[in-house]
């Protein structure tokens, strides 16, 4: 049984993600963050990947009988994830020179292949998103050779075409061996910087790959990862998640300030395989970050921007969005509701082409001191992710593959863009869906059914109907209608 009928807001987030997935190549409208060169959460890779994760959560837990609603959107987002604009930063970042490791920059060469070494902050998302797609939809789409190819060529610079061909299996194998070579401590993001959080998506990807192909890579990696981090401790002296470790000095950087995003991001993902630990520390950790507001609203203040080397760090912290995502995974309904209430009251919820988002706002607070600042990653993605997730939602994707026979069960195999699906599940062999024709976007207004046993009868709004073909059903204009397909 899924989690009931989607709310207007949940449907709005799904529509917004679908709209973003359909933007023309290199149209990143509404997605640009504060920083330059795809640094930190301003990077498109994070928005694209967590839209995929959010869609996966919504499909797995809320609309399990609507693969046709989700699969095309996820494929479009992965297609964008492979675009050079998303990963070309690695050509520069691979040379090192961050404030953490300026001493290494002399020994590092420019690297074009964005997954061949380090950069797990990108490669693991490509890997895990492809695996999510194939696991959720029971396909080997991304097992096709070259299906995950990174390609760049410019008429104006850069010489010959750069082309790096991978697929779901070869990329997983490659990342696994990078993990082995690291002693299971983890693969670096920027050179020399192994972030605890950034290896969590890879672990999720290993698990999904195991579910698809058999094997036990995730168990191997988790066992090794636990041992490797035992020397350093997952938590810092203040009880927050250690942020990163320098490969050369083995120095651990704590969550110094502390920053909400460090704990929230890590906790939201590490819960997949480390439930008791994450839940055991959650209440105490999150209490350090929450600020109660009027009428049950809850906010998350961000620490002032740091000054380093005489420079102010410009970045999208996404503190608010990450704490919302974390609370959703922890099943902390009170905190999540308070955060969403704050967002709806102070962060300008906006509807565009049927989609809901919270537009970027760089102003820290309003006249009353209420947080108004929100980044594209939070406003486009994380608040929707939090709203669509369920308690332990990502963990359940990790732990519980679909039941046997799921991919052959009655389902909405295709959904036109202009059809809104607020319910899609099979109960006792009967397909139940709630459908609405949405005229704010173009489309043919049909759904395509599959997996129906011979002799299945269809009802729409309580009236038995005969579809125009055995599998294609026209969705009428007007209010949402319930569809029932029963043998």
């Amino acid at each position: 049984m899924s989690h009931g009928v989607l709310t207007r807001e949940q449907l709005g987030h799904l529509r917004h993600w679908d709209n973003l997935s359909r933007q023309l190549p290199n149209d990143w409208s509404l997605m640009q963050g504060k920083g330059v060169s795809q640094d930190d959460f301003g990077g498109y890779r994070f928005q694209l990947a967590y839209m995929v994760y959010g869609l996966a959560l919504a499909h797995r837990h809320r609309l399990p009988a609507a693969p046709g609603l989700f699969a095309p959107t996820i494929r479009r987002l992965i297609e964008k994830l492979l675009m050079p604009e998303v990963w070309l930063y690695w050509r520069d970042v691979s040379r090192g020179g961050s404030v953490f490791n300026a001493h290494l920059s002399e020994g590092l060469a420019e690297e074009w292949d964005p997954v061949v070494r380090d950069n797990i902050m990108y490669s693991a998302y490509v890997q895990s998103c492809a695996a999510l797609h194939d696991q959720l939809f029971g396909t080997d789409h991304y097992a096709a050779p070259g299906s995950l190819t990174f390609r760049h060529w410019s008429f104006f610079w850069g010489g010959p075409e750069k082309r790096f061909a991978y697929d779901r299996d070869s990329l997983t194998e490659h990342l696994y061996w990078l993990m082995v070579e690291s002693g299971y401590l983890g693969v670096a993001c920027e050179p020399n910087c192994v972030f605890q959080i950034c290896n969590q998506p890879a672990i999720l990807g290993f698990r999904l790959h195991d579910q698809i192909t058999g094997g036990a890579r995730a168990d191997d990696v988790v066992a090794g990862y636990e041992k490797a981090w035992a020397d350093f401790g997952r938590l810092d002296d203040a009880g927050h998640y250690a942020m990163m470790i320098s490969q050369d000095t083995r120095e651990v950087r704590p969550n110094e300030r502390p920053s909400p995003w460090v704990d929230a991001w890590c906790g939201a993902l590490m819960n997949t395989w480390n439930h008791d630990f994450v839940h055991g520390h959650y209440r105490r950790q999150v209490a350090d970050f929450l600020e109660p507001g009027p009428d049950g609203t809850v906010s998350v203040p961000s620490a002032p921007a740091r000054q380093v080397m005489g420079q102010e760090i410009v970045s999208d912290t996404c503190d608010f969005g990450w704490v919302a995502a974390w609370a959703s995974e922890m099943g902390d309904r009170d905190t999540l509701d308070g955060l969403l209430a704050h967002a709806d009251r102070f962060m300008t919820p906006t509807w565009r082409d049927g989609g809901l988002y919270y537009p970027r706002n760089d102003t820290p607070s309003d006249a009353d001191g209420r947080r108004t600042e929100i980044e594209p990653m939070s406003g486009n993605v994380l608040l929707g992710y939090a709203r669509l997730n369920v308690a332990d939602g990502l963990r359940r994707i990790y732990q519980e593959p679909w039941p046997a026979g799921h991919h052959d069960a009655p389902r909405l195999a295709a959904v036109d863009r202009d059809v809104e699906v607020s319910r899609a599940e099979v109960v006792d062999g009967v397909l139940h869906a709630r459908l609405r024709r949405d005229r704010t976007v173009p489309g043919e207004g049909t759904v395509t059914l599959a997996g129906l046993p011979p002799g299945t009868r269809l009802w729409l709004g309580g009236t038995e109907v005969t579809p125009r073909t055995p599998s294609v059903l026209d969705v009428p204009d007007g209010a949402a209608v319930d569809m029932v397909a029963a043998p």
Partner: protein, 165 residues
């Protein structure tokens, strides 16, 4: 399970001080484990498991050369390796060399190693993967530390049987 993406090359000496490379053992299957004789937990457990694997193979074990490659060449000179293995795991041949040679061997198998100071001196952190090279000395299989003797023996038995047909 596919062959590991490793070079699997080495130029070392065995515990009789005889120079060896991966080609030395061509014609037999090489079962390769990295470790060091001062290791207190991981290596004794891994070698005991591989002894169990070899027992389970029965006569077919004759086609397998069990090798134990040190990640601690400073202490694991040939004489020490020989004494240690003959006393504890006599079917294994120990391989060692200079720090550069053992480092190259570890890198070619993509084995992580790191020397770590301890109150008693130092130890060497390392990954405990088990590798199999085929009779042509090409990488054939690997098993992570979490795999038990029964499953490794089953894989090996199937491989050896397939090679005989």
């Amino acid at each position: 399970m596919t062959a590991p993406p490793i070079r699997a090359t080495y130029s070392l000496v065995d515990h009789h001080n005889t120079p060896v490379t991966e080609r030395t053992y061509r014609g037999r299957w090489q079962l390769v484990q990295f470790g060091f004789t001062s290791c207190r937990v991981v290596c004794p457990r891994a070698l005991a498991k591989l002894d169990d694997v070899l027992d389970r193979l029965g006569d077919a074990a004759a086609a397998v050369v069990p090798l134990y490659v040190t990640v601690d060449p400073e202490r694991d000179i040939p004489e020490r390796l020989e004494a240690h293995l003959e006393a504890t795991h006599p079917r294994f041949t120990g391989l060692t060399g200079t720090a550069e040679q053992t480092g190259d061997a570890a890198a070619s198998f993509r084995v992580f190693t790191r020397r770590r100071d301890t109150p008693a001196g130092y130890d060497v952190q390392h990954t405990a993967m088990t590798y199999l090279l085929d009779p042509a000395a090409a990488p054939a299989r690997y098993w992570s530390d979490t795999r038990d003797a029964e499953s490794i023996a089953a894989d090996l038995t199937a491989l050896l049987a397939a090679a005989r047909t």
